[in-house]
């Protein structure tokens, strides 16, 4: 075998550049019309930095995809109507019970549609995971300072997405019209009613009358839940990702990483394989949850009747912070001048979430104002390196977690056999005290950590020696394997990604039986 033989072989193989193979010709066709090749190539080479915490946003994105797909399935069977029906479906215990068509169809799509219960529970789990992962993703962005210039816009979009996700979660939770979710709608009516001046008009307009209204609320919630908000969320996600591509990813400081570059793995093929696999893994977890872990068993709650109620009425977890705030709020109703302002409802359920999201929205600008830092940042902070910032974040998290815990005052009182009164007063104090303690502790821990030399790195032995003059010197021993970063210095994505042993296998050819394979060096 000579070099000329190999060269002939190389020529006889179809070159991908020739434009005669299917991929080449499609690229050519598209490029002649849209000019995709140049930018497309850059896009294939787009670098995605690797860090586990960057998966959090992907969890949110993929659970949204699952939500859309399972939601389409559910919408084929769900009947968005509050009109009364007498149930004659497959679920025996409810036979002959008067209920809304919405509830009847929700029960039937769980039991009469093959695979329906799994999909319905998967949809519910995906919603829980969607909102949870947004919240955790947002915490990551906060603690690493990724919201700083130039990414303030994407932070604002992200906060808006969290808000829309929570609202849409509540609407979807309300659609089955079971006893628990119907109570939730009743509460939502009271929340709207509590708004000064316009509250009663708004509530009556939305519900078509005093609660429960004309029955129009179920179709209205339905169209908002399946069309308006999903469209808004989809649009905002697109802009969120578009900005991310335009501004490129942030990255943690490290080997060869600067403010001027992005180090990681290329979009195609590495990242696309990894992330598609991740999509499947999330789908798998959600599907297993949908099949194995019962969630929102509406057939046990029964249909909604305004006069019925059950013990331990709680909303889905993401509304817990609002329910907790509502529970521990003192009864400060204002009456005077011929009017009533029910602050005990208006404050915790309308004003408080409004202020919360306003604070989230303006936070990047507030933080820039306080710190005076208006520079561009593409390298992320380690939270411990910014003790005050991290302490503020921990304080906020502790505040919302305490409110969340306060949404189960009755369950806690029963579980620990203490009086409800004591639990309530505990939370009224805890919501102030716990965040302060958590904030101070975090601040102190950050300070302690930043004072320790070489934290987070493997320690090396120190060799101490005494010189003939009597002075002492310490010298670090040579690094052991693992002490130093094993990563190679980063390089641009090469034009040709060909792994050595593949080339060799190709050159051996189909008819060549020598089949020598070199084990890659490592």
């Amino acid at each position: 075998v000579s070099a000329t033989v190999s060269a002939r072989r190389a020529r006889s193989r179809k070159s991908p550049l020739s434009g005669t193979d299917p991929v080449g010709s499609s690229v050519k066709w598209l490029d002649e019309r849209l000019g995709i090749a140049k930018g497309g190539r850059v896009f294939l080479d787009k670098i995605f930095p690797d860090h586990w915490s960057f998966l959090l946003g992907e969890i949110a994105l993929y659970s949204f995809i699952i939500l859309v797909l399972t939601g389409i399935f559910l919408s084929l069977y769900y009947v968005p109507s509050a009109s009364d029906v007498i149930y004659h479906g497959v679920y025996k215990p409810l036979q002959g019970v008067k209920m809304s068509a919405a509830y009847a169809s929700s029960v039937d799509l769980s039991f009469a549609v093959r695979g329906g219960l799994v999909i319905r529970q998967m949809h519910h789990w995906a919603a829980d995971v969607f909102i949870g992962s947004i919240a955790v993703h947002m915490s990551r962005i906060f603690f690493t300072g990724a919201y700083r210039k130039p990414r303030e816009l994407n932070w604002i979009i992200g906060v808006t997405l969290l808000m829309l996700a929570i609202i849409n979660g509540f609407l979807g939770y309300s659609l089955p019209d079971d006893l628990v979710s119907g109570t939730g709608i009743r509460l939502a009516f009271s929340f709207i009613l509590s708004i000064p001046v316009i509250g009663s008009y708004l509530a009556v307009f939305l519900f078509g009358g005093n609660f429960p209204g004309s029955g129009i609320i179920i179709p209205r919630f339905f169209i908002i839940h399946v069309l308006l908000l999903p469209l808004a969320i989809l649009g905002l996600i697109s802009v969120h990702l578009g900005l991310l591509v335009r501004q490129k990813h942030t990255q943690f400081p490290g080997h060869g990483r600067t403010e001027q570059n992005v180090v990681g793995t290329p979009m195609y093929p590495t990242f696309i394989l990894k992330t598609t696999g991740f999509l499947f893994m999330i789908a798998g977890v959600l599907w297993a949850l949908g099949g194995l872990v019962q969630v929102n068993p509406i057939w046990q709650y029964g249909p909604y009747q305004p006069y019925k109620i059950s013990y331990a009425v709680q909303p889905d977890w993401y509304m817990g912070w609002l329910d907790g705030a509502l529970r521990i709020m003192p009864s400060w109703e204002f009456t005077g001048f011929g009017h009533t302002i029910p602050f005990e409802v208006f404050l915790p359920t309308i004003l408080f979430p409004g202020l919360t999201f306003t604070l989230f929205w303006v936070w990047p600008f507030v933080a820039a104002k306080i710190s005076g830092d208006r520079a561009e940042h593409h390298l992320l902070d380690r939270p411990r390196d910014r003790p005050i910032h991290t302490a503020v974040g921990a304080l906020g998290l502790a505040f919302y977690f305490t409110l969340f815990a306060a949404s189960s005052t009755d369950v806690l009182a029963n579980f620990f056999h203490v009086s409800l009164n004591a639990v309530l007063w505990f939370f009224r104090l805890a919501v102030i005290v716990i965040p302060i303690i958590v904030g101070l502790t975090t601040w102190r821990i950050c300070l302690e950590m930043s004072g320790v030399h070489g934290i987070g790195k493997r320690k090396r032995a120190l060799v101490m020696s005494r010189s003939p003059e009597g002075g002492y010197t310490t010298v670090e021993t040579a690094p052991r394997p693992g002490d130093q970063p094993e990563e190679l210095p980063p390089e641009p994505v090469p034009t040709y990604i060909k792994i050595e042993d593949e080339l060799e296998a190709e050159s051996v050819g189909a008819g060549d039986s020598s089949g020598v394979r070199r084990v890659p060096r490592r």
């Binding site: 070099a3 190999s6 060269a7 190389a10 670098i47 695979g115 799994v118 009743r186 009271s190 009613l193 000064p196 509250g199 009663s200 008009y201 009556v204 078509g208 609660f211 501004q247 080997h255 992005v262 180090v263 990681g264 793995t265 290329p266 093929p269 990242f271 696309i272 696999g277 893994m281 789908a283 798998g284 977890v285 599907w287 099949g291 009747q305 305004p306 006069y307 109620i309 509502l326 529970r327 009864s331 109703e333 009533t340 029910p342 005990e344 409802v345 593409h378 980063p490 390089e491 641009p492 040709y496 990604i497 060909k498 050595e500 080339l503 060799e504 020598v516 890659p520 060096r521 490592r522």
Partner: protein, 322 residues
């Protein structure tokens, strides 16, 4: 057995020669960035293959379960395990078998030069000036027209929602003097129906299930006692009966739990506690007002009737409530 070929670039293998002819630069061969992350790619391929195969089996099993009629837990297990294994295989493929990198790309400055920015600003301002120069009345008409259009277009969106005005809907109920109390099935309540310590959800006759009318009829005392919860309500609680609105004054939940031992009504939503014997003044919790009390009477045949409607709006607070 690898052949060595001498070129001007040095000694290369036949494989490299093939690739070089195809346009691959020689430098690409020794680049450690292009080696897979796995120490032993052969074995890694096997493991990944195993995961993908498990995925395949899981999908097939899901299809089988679905085909024979479906079973919630098995569907979850098979589809879940299948998807997870399949996805794990794909991710591992990307992580362990493809070039390990790390690769780098430059971050280009997003912002433009000062000149470009100035020219943009100038274009916006100058062209606006050009458009509106000495045409103030056109500009005024544009603004006024757009404003009126905006307001008018909001009418069908908002005003059409509310053919119903709130009016007195929050201040009145269907309770009227002389109406009999009926239970959830519509059966009238007789004064002998409840034992001492009993409680029942009641409605005015003809309005069963109505949210605004729902009331709690409680019998804390035996028949020889009239219950006076407050001064001025001397006749409201005949023969040991007393009734309150069931709609919580906090957020409108049904105050459904009657606790005989403490003579309290408890709202399960946010745990407001109302004392039955005391005019349902909130003892505890976030409720701001007592539950309105329904004045009762018992007619000669023993039916329990309302003396009158509620003397105040029921349920949670709102702006127009005085």
């Amino acid at each position: 057995v690898t052949e060595q070929i001498t070129t001007e670039e040095g000694t290369i293998t036949a494989a490299q020669a093939t690739a070089t002819e195809a346009g691959v630069p020689v430098s690409a061969f020794d680049d450690p960035h292009l080696r897979p992350f796995a120490r032993n790619p052969r074995r890694t391929e096997l493991v990944i293959g195993l995961f993908l195969f498990v995925g395949l089996l899981g999908f097939a099993a899901y299809g089988g379960v679905y085909f024979v009629g479906g079973q919630t837990r098995l569907e979850g297990v098979f589809a879940g395990v299948g998807l997870f294994a399949f996805g794990f295989g794909l991710s591992a493929w990307g992580k362990y078998l493809l070039p390990q990198g790390p690769f780098v790309e430059d971050r280009h400055h997003l912002s433009s030069t000062d000149e470009e920015r100035d020219s943009m600003t100038a274009a916006v301002v100058d062209r606006a000036k050009l458009t509106f120069r000495r045409r103030g009345f056109l500009g005024g008409l544009l603004g006024a027209g757009a404003g009126v259009m905006g307001i008018v277009l909001a009418f069908p969106l908002i005003r059409s929602l509310g053919p119903n005005q709130p009016g007195k809907t929050f201040e009145t109920t269907n309770w009227k003097a002389g109406l009999r109390l009926v239970d959830v099935t519509g059966r009238p309540i007789h004064s002998s129906d409840l034992e001492v310590g009993g409680a029942l959800t009641v409605f005015p006759e003809g309005f069963v299930g109505s949210s605004i009318d729902m009331s709690m009829l409680v019998r804390p005392e035996p028949a020889y006692k009239n219950i006076v919860t407050m001064p001025g309500r001397e006749t409201w609680g005949p023969r040991g009966y007393v009734a309150y609105s069931k709609m919580c004054t906090h957020a409108g939940c049904p105050v459904g739990l009657y606790q005989e031992l403490t003579q309290t009504l408890l709202c399960p939503c946010h745990q407001s506690v109302f004392n039955v014997m005391d005019g349902a003044v909130p003892e505890f919790g976030p409720a701001p007002r007592p539950l309105p009390q329904l004045p009762l009477m018992i007619d000669s045949a023993g039916w329990i009737r309302a003396q009158a409607g509620y003397d105040q709006p029921v349920g949670p607070g709102f702006w127009e409530r005085s």
